[in-house]
């Protein structure tokens, strides 16, 4: 192909030149215009570039996405507890779980997840932080739900409060519009998620979130410098109902990560891990569209505040103070 090209071009060009050399008067217009060869070359170059672009786009679209492993090993298959009653409102957690199952029976658009955290009940034990790390197999530096200690005043006129900080699942999230590749968006049920396969790891969203709710996975392990990296750290995580293995810098390593209200647990009819774990029962979780749900009820309390409301993010997480 290329050989042919180089062979034909010079001859054509020589012809061009000899015509010019023959003393033909060239109008300035002609002199400044492109010769047909130049034009051809330009067109074929541009054409080739467009063609290449088109081909790579098409390939990227038709190549099937990696298979999603399903089954026992990946999706949770937890037994139901038989000891306590699961009927009625015998217990807040049981009630919320029943409400959750009711909400999950509805189409996604008609439910809207809401979390209410009662800071007066939080004892600052960090159990939710740790439970979340175990649930989502979080590596060092990635924390979805730290418990922040807030001290006001000076001893002895002092109060210490704790407020856990999950992702606020903002209705007007700052993290979504900045993502250059549309790898993060708000689902109709209100949860802001990250597509680990698409995210390029530019960390712009980390920068844009005013709550510091996103952390990036840099690929380290807690047991890294010990004789052996423990297998429990290498297990795949089940986030977003898929199985993500961290081997060979695979996603979620290199990605932005954040709290997603344990969507994979919700699918199984389970409350988010932090809500189930909380020893102070400080968390309420439910469907904001269901006015009778416990969470919606708590959200109507007079003592509710949202964090950094002035940023205009419209958080879906409410604090009772």
């Amino acid at each position: 192909m290329t050989k042919k090209k180089t062979k034909t071009t010079p001859t054509q060009r020589d012809g061009d030149m000899s015509a010019k050399d023959a003393g033909k008067n060239i109008s300035p217009e002609e002199a400044y215009s492109f010769s047909p060869v130049d034009r051809k070359r330009a067109i074929s170059l541009i054409g080739a570039a467009i063609g290449l672009g088109a081909i790579s786009t098409i390939i990227s679209r038709i190549v099937p996405p990696p298979a999603v492993p399903e089954g026992d090993g990946t999706i949770r298959n937890l037994p139901q507890l038989k000891s306590g009653g699961t009927e009625g409102n015998s217990d807040n957690l049981i009630r919320m779980q029943n409400e959750l199952r009711r909400a999950m029976a509805k189409p996604m658009e008609s439910r809207r997840w809401l979390m209410v955290i009662d800071t007066r009940k939080c004892v600052g034990c960090h159990a939710c932080t740790v439970a979340c790390m175990a649930e989502n197999r979080l590596p060092p530096g990635v924390v979805y739900r730290p418990v922040i200690t807030d001290q006001q005043g000076r001893y002895p006129r002092q109060i210490t409060r704790f407020f856990p900080r999950p992702c606020m699942q903002c209705d007007n999230p700052s993290c979504v519009p900045v993502c250059p590749v549309r790898a993060t968006w708000k689902r109709p049920d209100g949860v802001v998620i990250v597509d680990y396969d698409k995210c390029i790891g530019c960390r712009y969203c980390l920068t844009a979130c005013p709550y510091g709710a996103r952390t990036s996975d840099f690929g380290s392990y807690y047991t890294e410098h010990t004789p052996e990296i423990q297998p429990y750290e290498q297990q795949p995580t089940n986030e977003y109902n898929k199985s993500w293995s961290r081997e060979d810098h695979g996603s979620p390593v290199g990605n932005a990560r954040k709290c997603h209200f344990c969507l994979h647990r919700l699918e199984q009819g389970l409350l988010p891990q932090c809500v189930s774990t909380c020893i102070g029962r400080a968390n309420y979780f439910g469907d904001a569209n269901d006015a009778t749900s416990l969470a919606a009820e708590m959200a109507r309390s007079g003592n509710q505040v949202r964090l950094l409301e002035e940023k205009g993010t419209k958080p879906s997480v409410i604090y009772l103070v």
Partner: protein, 420 residues
């Protein structure tokens, strides 16, 4: 002094020594760079020190620095090709070449910063035009294409004429001319016209994309240090300063420019001085507004700049080396000596890197919510950041790569022919 004079009079010796120093530095940087890139490819981000609070570090600072150099030198070149500013004509080609090399350096730097380098193509295929980052990516892709084409048309004539030589250089020229053999005077005129059009189109693109880089930071309301309307403009201005300063330096050493480009260097020095003073004015305005306003979130970043652990970057690097000394050099009679002006250019260009670091890092090194960094115990969730050895090494490698390109350019690029 006289010894120095004598030394500089022996031109050949100077050239030889300078070249030796240049290539040794280049080789060393590349060598160190290999280590940095090796670590980046094999270990990913583990050995880098940025985290989830200081999300961007040395590589992003390097990126906005190099891309600023590129936009700046491109805009200087447009003075020649669009506004027909004759005084800089000698360095027009050099300026476009500099724009291309520094752009490549910038792209390398930001590429290394991605969590998934293999997914860089996502930015073209899945763009989100609500994100300033996507505008920026599209604009600089366009810009890169444009300068590549412009440089081709700038040099095509020289390549086409040089291609007849059977030397090694001739062969390279033949390759670079992409098969064009048209060495008539008309073709030269036509090329000139094309270049003018491209350069004209390039001005808004260069302004937009570098303003876009500034906007990328400026729109982040979560980081009050950046969230100011001045930001995109400050970016542009610093780009012009650094680009002009770098060109002053390069035009004095590139192809023995110190003897031929005297006039250009001194002219450039004047322009850079004016721009630098304007830049200082803008920066002072940022500080004044922040401190008179006195909102703690807003001043926190500035406090870090002025009195944080890396205040020396501001006072020493950016302030003394990058601003005060060069301003003095450009005001006092030293402004008439190309040697001193070139030195001022070097200092300014180096100083702006300090400025870029001071934009990226203090803006991020403030925890978003008070108590967040003490709630999580990890060096990734920590407002203290200092680039790791491998981060420095990788950036050194990029600098070495740029030096390599400049060195090759010095050898291969056609010299500016004297008009008779």
């Amino acid at each position: 002094m006289s010894l120095l004079q004598e030394y500089f009079n022996d031109r050949n010796k100077v050239v030889k020594n300078l070249k030796l120093i240049f290539w040794t530095a280049c080789a060393l940087s590349l060598l160190i760079g290999f280590y940095g890139w090796f670590v980046r490819i094999v270990d990913g981000h583990i050995k880098a020190n940025y985290g989830s609070i200081v999300t961007w570090g040395l590589w992003v600072a390097g990126y906005i620095y190099f891309i600023g150099l590129s936009a700046g030198s491109f805009l200087v070149s447009s003075l020649v090709y669009v506004f027909n500013y004759k005084k800089f004509e000698r360095i027009g080609k050099l300026a476009v070449f500099t724009a291309l090399v520094t752009l490549l350096m910038a792209l390398l730097s930001i590429w290394a910063d991605l969590g998934h380098m293999g997914r860089a193509w996502h930015v073209i295929v899945f763009p989100n035009f609500k994100s300033p980052m996507a505008w920026m990516i599209y604009l600089y892709s366009l810009y890169m294409l444009l300068i590549a084409v412009e440089i081709y048309f700038l040099l095509r004539y020289d390549f086409a004429t040089g291609a007849n030589n059977s030397t090694f250089k001739g062969k390279i020229y033949k390759l670079l001319s992409l098969g064009s053999k048209d060495s008539t005077e008309e073709s030269k005129q036509r090329d000139k016209k094309v270049v003018k059009r491209l350069a004209t189109a390039g001005i808004p693109i260069a302004i937009l994309f570098h303003g876009g880089v500034g906007a990328l930071f400026g729109v982040v309301s979560a980081r009050p240090h950046w969230h100011s309307g001045l930001f995109p403009i400050l970016f542009l201005l610093s780009a012009l300063v650094s680009g002009g300063a770098l060109l002053t330096l390069i035009s004095s050493i590139f192809q023995q420019g110190w003897s031929k480009n005297k006039g250009v260097i001194i002219e450039l020095g004047k322009m850079v001085l004016a721009l630098l003073l304007l830049d200082v004015l803008f920066q002072v305005s940022e500080f004044l507004v922040a401190y008179r306003g006195g909102i703690p979130g807003h001043t926190a970043g500035f406090d870090l700049v002025l009195s944080g652990p890396y205040a020396w970057v501001f006072w020493g690097w950016q302030g003394l080396i990058g601003t005060v000394i060069p301003i003095l050099l450009l005001i006092f009679p030293t402004r008439k000596s190309p040697l001193w002006v070139a030195l001022a250019g070097l200092l300014i260009a180096a100083g702006i890197f300090g400025l870029r670091l001071n934009i990226v890092i203090p803006g991020l090194a403030v925890e978003e919510i008070h108590g967040l960094t003490s709630a999580i115990y990890s060096h990734r969730v920590d407002p203290h950041y200092f680039p790791s050895i491998s981060e420095w090494a990788l950036t050194m490698g990029i600098v070495g790569f740029g030096m390599l390109l400049f060195g090759l350019g010095e050898y291969f690029l056609p010299k500016h022919e004297e008009k008779t």
